[in-house]
């Protein structure tokens, strides 16, 4: 589904991604973790072309990002993305947030789009808030709306970029619950997160990044059981002590 092939990226002289190679197969849930500044957010944003990269290539469902003939907006419309800071469109009501992409990108009529939006709002438990503006919702509610907005496009894969790290602690679980449910339904997911409980529960594989490199790429059991690299061991011991 996603093949990341020897991707390198520089911000000026700074090498943010160094020869990253990995893949996500259909139905797989891959958690990407690592210390801050390790390049994990940058890596996930390269997958749908939100961040450019200088070397290597990425294929999503067989379409190569570096191919000049690739229609990036079309490719992005099939890849759902959830951001750390939700990034709902604050000037649009919740339903309009959910319908915009459906109508302008997929060409659905308002009625079809609204039906889909309503169904997905129900699914994330927010149908009562359909006619509010994003600013009137809590962080957890906004992030659930953001997930619903991505799902409205019927994505073939979902990318999550630290979806719970901007949330108050008591709201983390309502978002993780939605994500767990999604994973159990067989959605292909790539998730940048520090929530190791979530990783243990639903991940198939865990990727550990440090200083722009993929240091560890292992099954969940191998990663939590016996991480090979010292850096991953240190990272785990730091975040799992409490």
């Amino acid at each position: 589904m996603i093949e990341i092939d020897n991707v390198s990226k520089w911000y000026g002289d700074f090498n943010v991604l160094k020869h990253c190679t990995t893949s996500v197969t259909k139905g797989e849930v891959v958690v990407v973790c690592g210390p801050s500044g390790s390049g994990k957010s940058t890596l996930i944003k390269t997958v749908n072309g939100l961040e450019e990269f200088q070397e290597g290539d990425i294929r999503v469902d067989g379409t190569a990002l570096k191919d000049k003939s690739t229609n990036l907006p079309k490719l992005r419309s099939r890849v759902g993305m959830v951001f750390q800071h939700f990034e709902l469109f604050p000037h649009l009501k919740i339903t309009e947030n959910l319908c915009l992409g459906q109508m302008k990108v997929l060409g659905r009529d308002r009625e079809t789009a609204m039906k889909k939006a309503t169904a997905l709002l129900e699914r994330v438990g927010l149908e009562a808030h359909a006619h509010k503006f994003p600013g009137q919702l809590s962080g957890g509610q906004q992030q659930r709306v953001a997930i619903a907005r991505a799902l409205c496009m019927d994505p073939i894969v979902m990318l999550f970029d630290e979806p719970t790290s901007a949330l108050d602690p008591e709201m983390v679980n309502e978002v993780l619950d939605v994500m767990v449910e999604l994973a159990r339904e067989g959605m292909t997911m790539m998730v940048v997160t520090h929530e190791m409980g979530f990783a243990r529960k639903v991940a198939n594989r865990v990727i550990f990044m440090d200083r722009g490199e993929i240091v560890e790429d292992a099954t969940k059991d191998d990663f939590f059981g016996k991480p090979r690299s010292e850096r991953a061991q240190q990272f785990l011991s730091k975040i799992l002590t409490h």
Partner: protein, 244 residues
């Protein structure tokens, strides 16, 4: 100071034979409003293009827009108006230049063009500031759902940016109205020109300019209220920058 106050002068006939002095001021106000409206529409259109162009880095049109802004906001408006009115027709091919000079209402079109293009550079800077004030993630979120860059601007970026810059846009609109007085130098009989004419015919300088001042004030207060109304109309509940 010995000055003969005579407010009654406003109702006396002006020697131009078109009605009272007050009526000539009213005619001037109409021209002022016409120039202001035309220039403001032009400024919004030009400013929108400039603001968007300057927000898209690394393309050829961004430096072009920057050059426009720097040229138009750094030359005095009065000089720009003279350039458009006296110099530009001479630079055109002869037949075009003649056509321009013979245009009926040439001062009107020149004033709208000159003031509009000048104010456009200012509106463009405001819009650029508004666009830059948005979180970078908004553009990412818009393109992530598959919107093209023009669609992202149309449906996500600009509706927010214009809301943010409404208060400074009100000031720019008021500036546009006040700047129309410069048009008297190219022979447009707008409000200030009418007040000067009244002063010259009647020697009642205080009454003439007091009346003009009051008319400018009333017009600008009306515009301020109208813009406030628009602000509250488009306010988004829960959007921080627009909280009352």
């Amino acid at each position: 100071m010995s000055y003969n106050w005579n407010w009654g002068i406003l109702l006396e006939q002006s020697p131009e034979g078109i009605g009272s002095y007050l009526y000539t001021l009213w005619l001037g106000l109409q021209w002022t409003m016409l120039v202001a409206a035309g220039a403001w529409i032009l400024a919004l259109a030009v400013g929108s293009v400039l603001g968007v162009a300057r927000s898209l880095p690394g393309r050829w049109f961004s430096p072009l827009a920057t050059a426009y802004v720097e040229i138009f906001r750094n030359i005095p408006l009065l000089v720009q108006l003279f350039l458009w009115y006296f110099v530009m027709p001479e630079l055109l091919p002869r037949s075009w230049g003649l056509w321009v000079k013979q245009l009926p209402n040439a001062p009107l079109y020149t004033a709208i063009l000159g003031i509009g293009l000048y104010m456009g550079s200012r509106v463009g800077e405001q819009l650029r500031a508004g666009i830059q004030a948005l979180p970078r993630g908004q553009m990412m979120a818009a393109t992530a759902i598959g919107l093209t860059v023009p669609q992202a601007f149309r449906f996500v970026i600009l509706p927010q940016a214009y809301r943010i810059i409404l208060p400074p846009l009100t000031s720019e609109f008021l500036n546009t109205i006040k700047n129309t007085s410069v048009a008297l130098t190219i022979g447009l009989l707008e409000l200030t020109a009418r007040a000067r004419a009244m002063q010259e015919y009647s020697f009642q300088v205080f009454e003439a300019f007091t009346a003009a001042t009051v008319l400018y004030l009333l017009l600008n207060i009306a515009v301020t209220f109208a813009m406030r109304l628009i602000e509250s109309r488009v306010a988004v509940p829960g959007l921080g920058v627009l909280k009352k």
